[in-house]
């Protein structure tokens, strides 16, 4: 074989130019997303498509259950074909919105401010949404969905995180979160307890401490200073010993309860209703300490490619019958007061003319006392000043909790 010795400079030159192009790409690459920043002034023609990010059960088109469908008639009326991506956590939803590839999202209170702050969503012109006027006052212009009186979204509904248990194995019926937080009580179910796999769950620990350890001085589970956060983390670390599996994906929680791998823990009403409909032995309650909850808002992306379809969706999702269907299907309180009329509730997937009382839709009994998911920030909002822990601290802490 001929000896072909290449000149060393050739390869070196290749490598250098390759690295140079990397530096070039790095230096010139990646522009920031531009900010629309303004609300629509009028709705034009539907663009034919709509890409949504939603919580499970919020955008049903008959594929989960043929009788549960509030998308098909929207598509027929407006010509906007709906593509939905289910998000499992607020963090996921924020990240998906940041890609700019979606038109809208059903954001909970712990995502909304992050999206507004990051310029990922535009303000909403509620005059263009006729059904908006029927929304409960308690949902309008809240700190989590508006800035200086300007709405940044359309309320979808609100509800509580529940305590769910396997009625065959867990006796007596628990009425307090101590069954998952108190080391003695929850050790009875060691290896079969579950919790929501997200830093926001720290607020649930905070709520428990608020009621059981008053000398910690917690007044709001989202406003925890360092000492209070440490206490919450310790509580959660103790809980970790009894946890069998955390759930971030609601389907995993459903299958864990159905398998008998999980016996007790926090859940959304949706999982409870699904398990119950399948004949599984489950019970649920809002324990005596109260609970955390969520109030969800439909928001429009600042990079929405189909803004008209999004506004048409805003109005559609607020239609009384749609609101009644959603509320019954997911197990939450609707945002539109008109949805509580019996004629709409009778037609839902789980017909119940008392649905609105049960779920306290007007927010008089317990909804207003729920601690809705919100992003923890350093400003405590009281005379402690700026010493509260931020969501970043919570994310850190959550890694520590899981160990």
């Amino acid at each position: 074989m001929r000896r072909l010795t290449a000149r060393p400079e050739r390869l070196a030159w290749l490598v250098v130019s390759a690295l140079a192009s990397v530096v070039f790409a790095v230096g010139c690459g990646g522009g920031d997303d531009d900010n629309g920043g303004e609300a629509l002034s009028q709705i034009g023609e539907g663009e034919g498509e709509l890409n949504l990010i939603a919580w499970a059960g919020y955008v049903e088109d008959g594929s989960t259950d043929p009788k549960v469908d509030w998308v098909s008639d929207f598509e027929k009326e407006t010509g906007c074909k709906v593509n939905v991506k289910v998000g499992n956590t607020s963090d996921e939803m924020v990240q998906l919105m940041r890609t700019g590839q979606y038109d809208g999202v059903s954001a909970s209170g712990d995502a909304t401010l992050r999206l507004i702050e990051g310029g990922d969503v535009d303000p909403v012109n509620t005059d263009l949404v006729p059904n908006y006027e029927d929304v409960f006052d308690g949902l309008k212009e809240q700190p989590y969905n508006s800035v200086d009186g300007q709405m940044y979204g359309i309320p979808h509904g609100r509800g509580a995180n529940l305590l769910m248990w396997n009625t065959d194995e867990v006796q007596p019926d628990p009425d307090s979160w101590s069954v998952v937080f108190d080391p003695q009580e929850s050790s009875k179910y060691a290896g079969h307890v579950t919790a929501y796999d997200n830093p926001i769950y720290i607020a649930d620990a905070g709520l428990y401490l608020m009621k059981h350890n008053p000398d910690l001085g917690i007044t709001n589970p989202y406003e925890l200073d360092e000492g209070q956060l440490d206490a919450a983390v310790d509580l959660l670390k103790d809980q970790n010993a009894n946890i069998g599996e955390y759930w971030a994906d609601y389907t995993k929680e459903i299958s864990a309860f159905a398998n008998g791998d999980t016996l007790v823990g926090t859940t959304w009403p949706y999982q409870y209703l699904t398990l119950q409909a399948d004949g599984e032995p489950v019970g649920q309650t809002i324990p005596e300490e109260g609970s955390t909850g969520w109030s969800d808002t439909w928001m429009i992306s600042s990079e929405a490619e189909h803004p008209n379809c999004m506004y048409l969706w805003f109005n559609h999702i607020l239609e009384p019958q749609v609101q009644a269907d959603v509320a019954e299907w997911f197990g939450e309180a609707p945002a539109n007061s008109v949805a509580c009329e019996p004629k709409y509730l009778k037609n839902g997937p789980f017909p119940d003319v008392n649905h609105c009382e049960k779920y306290d839709a007007a927010g008089e009994e317990y909804l207003d006392d729920l601690f809705y998911w919100t992003t923890p920030v350093s400003d405590c909002g009281d005379d402690r000043g700026d010493v509260c822990t931020t969501y970043d601290d919570w994310v850190q802490a959550w890694t520590e909790v899981k160990g």
Binding site: L4, L14, A18, T399
Partner: protein, 285 residues
């Protein structure tokens, strides 16, 4: 046209090599190494407080070491890294031990036909559904699954579960290099050892093991590397966090932190690869 190009390349071996390598090297250096460089760059970035958006900066003066400080100072990251490395080592050792009998049989004892069948049997599951296999173990170990039906009961300790599943997953990656390494040991060496009065156990200890060791190291590159980065197995069969899980769960919220933490497995693997190369493992890959 071809001849004119040929004329251009003729006698210019450098150009020939350059032409051949431009594509692959360009891709790997710019695309892959460049990406690793960017990952490192990302680890020096921070997040805006309320928005949580990444604040990018290309000016080294503005680089922040916060992420590295965080993973160095917070004990949980150290324990997670330690746990991952420990399991990686355990899995490697277990797989080496499990792989040996079958590799030896295949290389030295089996008839050619049997050997061929065995090789195929070990090869087939190699890339057949990694995620599927983890899921299968998850079902086997669930309440009501095979293990509890068989009366054995699934292991409950998280570390044991992860160790067991990973041992299973990476076993073929260890069998093949060891088999290849054993095959290369000439039979005459083994007979010579016998002739010199060596008991089979001595032959094993003093002839076979040293000669096959580089092959074992080669196989261990995979078992170690695959364990170091895996997040799916810990996620599906346990509730513990490994390095991969921390990177995975932080990657959407806090990419800079995830990037910083992922330098740990890179450093470990680069060191491991350099040591392995020195031990001659690369000849057995």
């Amino acid at each position: 046209m071809g001849r004119r190009l040929a004329g251009l390349f003729h006698g210019r071996p450098g150009l020939q090599v350059g032409g051949l390598l431009a594509g692959p090297v360009g891709w790997l250096v710019v695309g892959y190494l460049g990406s690793l460089a960017i990952l490192l760059l990302t680890s020096f970035w921070t997040l805006g407080e309320l928005s949580g958006e990444i604040e990018k900066t290309y000016n080294p003066a503005n680089f922040s070491l916060d992420n590295f400080k965080q993973i160095a100072e917070e004990p949980v990251y150290r324990s997670i890294a330690g746990r991952t490395i420990l399991i990686a080592a355990l899995v490697t050792v277990t797989d080496a031990i499990l792989a040996f009998p079958i590799a030896f049989y295949m290389a030295k004892v089996a008839s050619p036909r049997t050997r061929s069948v065995l090789v195929v049997s070990v090869l087939l599951p190699l890339w057949s559904g990694y995620l599927v296999k983890v899921y299968t173990w998850r079902t086997i170990m669930s309440g009501g699954g095979v293990l509890s039906w068989a009366g054995v009961g699934a292991p409950t300790d998280d570390m044991v579960r992860v160790w067991l599943v990973m041992t299973y997953l990476w076993l073929p990656y260890m069998i093949i290099p060891i088999y290849a390494g054993l095959e290369r040991i000439s039979d005459s060496l083994l007979s010579a050892s016998e002739d010199l009065g060596g008991h089979p156990r001595t032959t094993f200890r003093r002839v076979i093991v040293p000669l096959v060791f580089p092959a074992v190291v080669a196989g261990s590159i995979f078992t170690f590397s695959l364990t170091l980065g895996d997040f799916i197995t810990p996620l599906l069969v346990s509730k513990t966090q490994f390095i991969g899980n921390v990177v995975y769960s932080n990657f959407s919220n806090d990419l800079p932190l995830a990037a910083a933490f992922s330098t740990v497995p890179v450093v470990v693997m680069v060191v491991y690869l350099l040591v392995a190369r020195r031990l001659g493992a690369f000849e057995h890959l």
